[in-house]
């Protein structure tokens, strides 16, 4: 500290006595209350670090005497909202899904809850927009083709028990044989050409004709005489514009020779009944529901 205050000649204002390259700093004193406010914030900060989580330690930060935690807050929030929704959730579990009324609070609740359930559990395969992934055989849930039926209670059954899984004895189950062991190379080609001819004009009519006989003998039991499929058996309709794995000759050949074995977990064992019903209502509302 300097011994005596210096005064700047030009302005007549006291300087702080600090000089840089001959330039001196004028002293413009801050108000005293500002200083006290500054001290107050320091005291406040000390109190704050005692009251709230703050000091980093080896295993996480100090917890603070108030025991405040964002995780606990979120948990409390979720609990509070679940308590608020308890009546609706109970009503949903008790309801007959087929009679949920359009515009009713219950249906609104079910679809919004279902959306959350879908995003968390289903979107990994079916996509966040529920459009599926054809290359992997994850079905599109927006269209009007349903392997196992598109009524809301049929959807709920599929969600609850899953498809071709070992964990739930009531799972939807069907299995197409791998025809590589049954058909000759030429027969496979003929059947593929027949199936291909159902939806495409650009085909070999003679070969398809041969294939149609093979189809009636080997495939119609499940897929039907007209290849319209059978939702009771999970047999897809081969005559419509929708293909689970793809409708070109190569993909069809692959499917016929090696079969497919798409699986879905039994969600009834993983999520609550209310969640199962909610997500069913949500999927049903996406555009394909029957």
């Amino acid at each position: 500290m300097s011994d005596a205050p210096k005064v700047d000649k030009e302005t007549g204002v006291e300087t702080t006595g600090h000089s840089w390259d001959g330039i001196e700093e004028l002293n413009s004193p801050l108000p005293r209350w500002w200083l006290w406010t500054f001290y107050l914030t320091i005291i406040w900060a000390i109190g704050y670090t005692i009251a709230y989580p703050a000091w980093p330690m080896v295993r996480g930060a100090t917890e603070g005497v108030l025991g405040w935690s964002t995780r606990a807050n979120v948990a409390a929030d979720i609990e509070e909202h679940e308590a608020l929704n308890a009546d609706l959730a109970n009503a949903l579990v008790a309801a007959d899904l087929t009679t949920l009324e359009t515009g009713s609070d219950l249906l609104r609740y079910a679809t919004s809850r279902g959306q959350a359930v879908f995003i968390a559990n289903c979107s990994q395969c079916h996509g966040s927009g529920a459009a599926g992934v054809q290359a992997a055989g994850y079905p599109n849930l927006l269209d009007d083709a349903w392997l196992w039926g598109g009524e809301i209670d049929q959807i709920a059954y599929t969600v609850r028990h899953g498809i071709r899984n070992e964990t739930d004895p009531d799972a939807r189950w069907s299995e197409m044989p791998a025809f590589a062991d049954i058909f000759s190379r030429e027969e496979t080609e003929a059947v593929v050409e027949y199936v291909y001819s159902l939806t495409s004009d650009d085909h070999d009519a003679a070969l398809a004709e041969t294939g149609s006989t093979l189809f009636l003998d080997n495939c119609a039991a499940c897929h039907g005489d007209n290849a319209m499929g059978n939702p009771d058996l999970g047999a897809p309709n081969l005559s419509d514009a929708i293909w689970l794995y793809g409708g070109d000759r190569d993909t069809l050949t692959e499917t016929v020779m090696n079969s497919r074995f798409g699986v879905m977990p039994a969600w009834g064992l993983r999520i609550s009944e209310a969640d199962v019903r909610a997500v069913s209502a949500y999927v049903h509302s996406l555009g394909g529901g029957e």
């Binding site: 300097s2 011994d3 702080t16 004193p29 515009g103 927006l142 514009a241």
Partner: protein
Amino acid sequence: MTGTPDAPKLYAAREPIFPRRVKGKFRTLKWWIMLVTLGIYYLTPWIRWDRGPQLPDQAVLIDLANRRFYFFWIEIWPHEFYFVAGLLIMAGLGLFLFTAALGRVWCGYTCPQTVWTDLFILVERWIEGDRNARVRLHHAKWDARKWSLRLTKWIVWLLIAVATGGAWVFYFTDAPALAMDLVQFSAPPVAYVTIGILTATTFIFGGFMREQVCIYMCPWPRIQAAMMDSDTITVAYRDWRGEPRAKGRKRRDMAEEAERIAAEEAARGRGAAVYRATPYPGQRTVEEAPKTPTLAEAAGPGDCIDCMACVNVCPMGIDIRDGQQMECITCALCIDACDEVMEKVGKPRGLIDYLALSDEPRERAGEPPRPIWQHVFRLRTLIYTAIWSAVGIGLLYALFIRTDIELTVAPVRNPTYVTQSDGSIRNIYDIRLRNKAGSDRQFRMSLTSDEILRIELEGEQTRVVTVPANSTYLQRVYVTARDQDPASDADVTDLRFWVEDLESGERASKASTFNGTGESDD
């Protein structure tokens, strides 16, 4: 902090300010502005406005819980927040305009800090007396009298502060109901906390911080200075008329010297030069102005009698005669104080006055200042006015073309389209319908397009939906193009959704697009 006593002080204690009472036209104007602004603030929440049974009947209400803002006949929904943004832009531009034209009028007359401080000083004066009494009380010992005066003052301040905080919360919920709850201690805690915080800030800022808020806490003084120029009308001291200031014996000596010079000059036959104490009159006595000062006039004292009236009335504790300074909020009380004195000593008013600094050379030369309108109407202010009006007209236009029905269309683009089993192509749209009326309404939805497209509503057999009163309704809509329709394999097809109120026939529409497979040959 431990340096020698001579070390420079980096922190200064606040110098207490004891503004003296003053009378005059600006003081009167300020009383009226205080009355009106405080009246608006305290009474607005109590105005009622009938909107029907399902909507609140408070004229001005910020309903945060339901995301609605009511202002008399106007109702703002969250998606119309641009009205608020527009008003804020207008407020900002308005501040630019007023500052460019009239300096810190906002600070001096209407800023809440100024108005409440003014009110608190008024209370202080009623209880503790005018300036001299307050200075004495300040230095007095803390005896019973001082305690009783101070406590009385603080209690009245506190009551005003509580009323201020109390009025604030009424803007956010039904005022009469909340008032009952507040009295019965059953109002929500957030109401009490808000009142508590605003009570504390009002009490501290209005009672103790006062000018410190303006000088150290408020950003406006810094910003506003950048918006002023030499044509800005602001409070200033006519130093060319007032200086050299003098009082008492010094003033008498100077006047005698001037008389002597005048007599000498008269003796030399230079005409009857008479010393006049007002050589360069202000704008109010222009006709008598001589072009150049005589020797006698140069030797005589200026009009300023150094009575310190302008300093004593200043709520900011500054001396306006030092020129423009950041602390000055242009409250004009020094004008009133000085005019009063000039009147008493028989000189023209306006030694301290509203004036533009660009007039200084003219006035120094004894010419009259240019008329006020020439200062106010200049390119800068006209541009501000133009932008301000453009925003205002835009907002009014937007307000008047608002309809009671509104829809927003959010095309679902995940996936872009869905192929149905019959080969038709379907697009999905999430349409939000807003019913701003106070009763349930039925809307029929339809679409128009150059191509053949079919519309269906999720969960509805018909194309009619019922939207509850004062709410937004989300409806999923499907639009389908059959396999043979051009839209199914076109890239993009334009379409327009229509919504019609079945009762009133009022319609609204929104354009959107339909995505096909993009596989058409042409």
